[in-house]
Chain length 103, copies 2
Amino acid sequence: MILHLASFRWADGVTDDDVARLTTALTAMAAQIPELRSYVAGPNLHLRPGGMDYAVAAVVDDEAGLHTYLDHPAHAQVYADLMGDMLAERAAAQLPLSAGELR
Amino acid sequence: MILHLASFRWADGVTDDDVARLTTALTAMAAQIPELRSYVAGPNLHLRPGGMDYAVAAVVDDEAGLHTYLDHPAHAQVYADLMGDMLAERAAAQLPLSAGELR
């Protein structure tokens, strides 16, 4: 399996409503992509100083699943409709993940 | 539960050996911190263009567990011995996580 992690810093002017709309859209997107075994998205809880504004964690079975997810029309649509205008910075990475390794 | 996500970009001159040493040290650190329910760390697989160099995903029960982990002497030691000199950029966030949400 593969864990895809991404965190984002917003541009100036992004509101809590924008972020709530994005979370709703990402959750709906994830439901359309069967390659996503699991998907978590939301604003940073800011339990520590600094940090990014938002983060996503997604688990897929393999590299093909990762590309299907990230190249999916529903993913592109969220970027076109919302994320693209909100983004100032994106930090992403993928890690190998064994079953039950994140629980 | 809380999912702590962090990704890192290395400074110039960081070698694969440095990264391997870091992964060994982080894995040993995680074993010393019972508040860590689970912990995944490693170099970015770079399955997509761009992205950070390294990432960590950690699951703890609650905010107290998060602070115990991030303020733990073993965590500070890895920063002092290795990570501090390697780091050019860090992007971190925490997300709420329900049981079984990442599988």
